[in-house]
């Protein structure tokens, strides 16, 4: 039996008569970079919010990091990190203060926070900027800092909800390098994205259409299956087929 860190079985979420997630089932392996793709309104954000414990599912069994999401949400929360499409550091606080605050809400000790802060600032080459307020930094740096902050408490899984929206290609590239590094250190990465070239970076991707998962495999296999050259074409074929 393989070592799955996210198990989703028959997840359904309804808002009134609208079904946002229709009987989803999928498994994510430990240490994997898992791409969660879909058009706007396909139900990606709803699913990711359920996995993070922000929403309660209407029905289904969901286990994240070995805990049941509906009944043990607090244990789940301790083991995950989250970075939303909205940029989530406090603009009016310095880099150091942001690290201290986010470390604090995850219950890290002052010493651990200082060590992690040093570590990430060194890695990003921002040691001199540690007392700079976030609002005066360029967007690319903020994004990388937000990611560092999201994994500073060593979560077992990091959920990234469209982390690269509005960022230039070079920064996106660097950002994905950070993602790989995190995955190499054993953190499972669950990422939603709009960019199909990014889908190629993922080890496995699932594609959602209208609340259902229509395809789930490695990018290579998917391209083979749909007899196309790029993920973009896979995506378009799936979305067309639906209409």
């Amino acid at each position: 039996m393989e070592d799955y860190i996210i198990r989703v079985e028959n997840l359904t979420k309804k808002f009134g008569s609208f079904t946002a997630n229709d009987n989803l089932s999928f498994f994510v392996r430990k240490g994997e970079v898992f791409g969660f793709l879909g058009a706007n309104g396909a139900g990606k954000t709803t699913a990711i919010r359920i996995l993070c414990g922000l929403l309660k599912p209407t029905s289904g069994n969901i286990e994240v990091a070995g805990y049941d999401v509906s009944r043990q949400s607090n244990k789940v929360k301790k083991n995950i990190g989250y970075m939303s499409q909205k940029f989530s550091l406090y603009e009016d606080m310095t880099i150091k203060e942001n690290f201290r605050f986010y470390g604090g809400i995850y219950g890290m000790s002052g010493k651990a926070i200082r060590e992690k802060t040093e570590h990430y600032l060194h890695k990003l080459g921002l040691e001199k900027e540690k007392n700079t307020v976030i609002s005066s930094l360029p967007l690319g740096w903020k994004q990388k800092l937000a990611f560092s902050v999201a994994i500073m408490h060593d979560p077992r899984i990091i959920f990234l909800d469209e982390p690269t929206g509005g960022v230039d290609p070079i920064t996106r590239r660097q950002f994905w390098e950070m993602i790989y590094e995190a995955a190499a250190s054993g953190i499972t990465v669950f990422v939603t994205t709009h960019y199909m070239d990014e889908a190629e970076y993922c080890q496995r991707v699932s594609i959602m259409v209208d609340g259902r998962i229509e395809a789930l495999n490695t990018p290579e296999k998917l391209k083979e299956q749909f007899r196309v050259d790029s993920m973009e074409d896979v995506f378009i074929k799936l979305a067309r087929g639906q209409q």
Binding site: C52, L54, K56, K86, Y90, D92, M93, I105
Partner: protein, 365 residues
């Protein structure tokens, strides 16, 4: 939790707008009132209607006019002129001597003077009457010493236009109420809405923090600052206006704390129904500020309002708090007198906390 509170203070102290609203406004408001309402009288214009015109009435008139407080604007001939001089606006007080002033004093040891004051400015009216009766009492004492016989000058005063002298010192309880409401409700609702707008609220909700910790972390800094504000206003009231707290200061502060918590609960409730800072600001403005000022009795006496509005006033927490502050500060009453108002505010607090917990949960569903 501690980190959360520290973070909240960073937000407050680094935002110029927030700082101005928090600390600039109370001081400025209280000082504006301080200069707008003068508590000292100098050279107030008066008119005298003297039916006696004898030596004693003239002597007393001269005493009054020669004091620094009053200037004689005109001598009146009969009562029909009184209304006119008041309406002209310059004259603030009319002193009326009845017939045979001196003879009454000598023969009957008693005479009377009537003082009429323009109480549309109640503060000034009150001071004028007090100064005038003071001078008359001095004169009485002098005469008694000279003639060795007990005489009595009865003074009777009448406040024109505003007989009950409403709003004397009314502005301090009103200012405290408005400011606490503004700082507590508006600032918390805006600060929570800001986290939602920036997306940081989601990150907080994903973290192991419990919703109650998030709310407390948001609220505690504002409780502290509002409390500091309340104390500042009370100190200003005392040093600038010489307005002492007649009742128990501890009771007053405890009631203020209760009111602050009520306003904060209201602020959280507002933030749960608004998703942006703008909405939160507008809601606070229209749902809180205007009713607070207009329907609390702060500026317009509730008794003079149409019945429908009086009913609405009862729904305003501020109305009850103004009554509490006034009673403690001016009348010096204890809890026994204001328990009903206190209960109403406690009830409102529970209601708002309940509503916001319910709303907060729905968001997480």
């Amino acid at each position: 939790m501690k980190g959360f509170i520290i973070k909240e203070f960073y937000h407050i102290f680094r935002d110029v707008r927030t700082m101005v609203i928090l600390f600039g406004m109370p001081v400025v408001q209280v000082l504006i009132f301080g200069f707008a309402i003068s508590t000292e009288i100098k050279d107030a214009e008066i008119a005298i209607l003297d039916y006696s015109r004898d030596n004693m009435s003239l002597e007393l008139s001269n005493k009054i006019i020669s004091s620094d407080y009053f200037i004689l604007s005109e001598n009146l001939e009969d009562e029909s002129q009184i209304e006119k001089v008041f309406q002209a606006g310059k004259v603030k007080e009319v002193i009326i001597f009845g017939d045979h002033f001196a003879r009454n004093l000598e023969k009957e040891q008693s005479a009377s003077i009537q003082i009429i004051a323009d109480a549309s400015d109640p503060n000034t009216a009150n001071l004028l009457v007090n100064y005038t009766t003071g001078i008359i009492r001095n004169y009485m004492a002098e005469k008694m010493g000279e003639q060795g016989m007990p005489i009595e000058i009865k003074t009777e005063y009448k406040m024109l236009f505003n007989p009950e002298l409403k709003s004397v010192f009314m502005f301090i309880p009103g200012t405290i109420t408005v400011l606490l409401m503004l700082v507590s409700a508006m600032m918390t609702s805006i600060s929570i809405a800001r986290e939602k707008e920036l997306g940081t609220m989601e990150v907080l909700l994903v973290s192991p923090l419990k919703p109650i910790q998030i709310v407390l972390g948001k609220v505690i800094p504002y409780v502290v600052l509002s409390f500091v504000n309340a104390i500042t206003i009370l100190l200003l009231a005392f040093f600038v206006f010489g307005m002492p707290v007649q009742g128990s200061v501890i009771l007053l502060l405890a009631e203020s704390l209760l009111f602050i918590i009520m306003a904060l609960a209201l602020g959280i409730f507002i933030s749960t129904v608004s998703n942006s800072q703008q909405t939160a600001m507008m809601l606070s403005m229209f749902a809180l500020m205007l009713p607070t000022i207009l329907l609390s009795g702060f500026i317009f006496p509730i008794e003079n309002m149409p019945e429908v509005l009086q009913w609405l006033c009862n729904l305003m927490p501020t109305k009850w708090f103004i009554i509490i502050v006034k009673d403690i500060m001016l009348k010096g009453v204890g809890l026994a007198h204001i328990w009903q108002e206190t209960l109403i505010i406690i009830g409102m607090t529970i209601l708002f906390i309940g509503l916001s917990i319910k709303k907060f949960k729905i968001r997480l569903e």
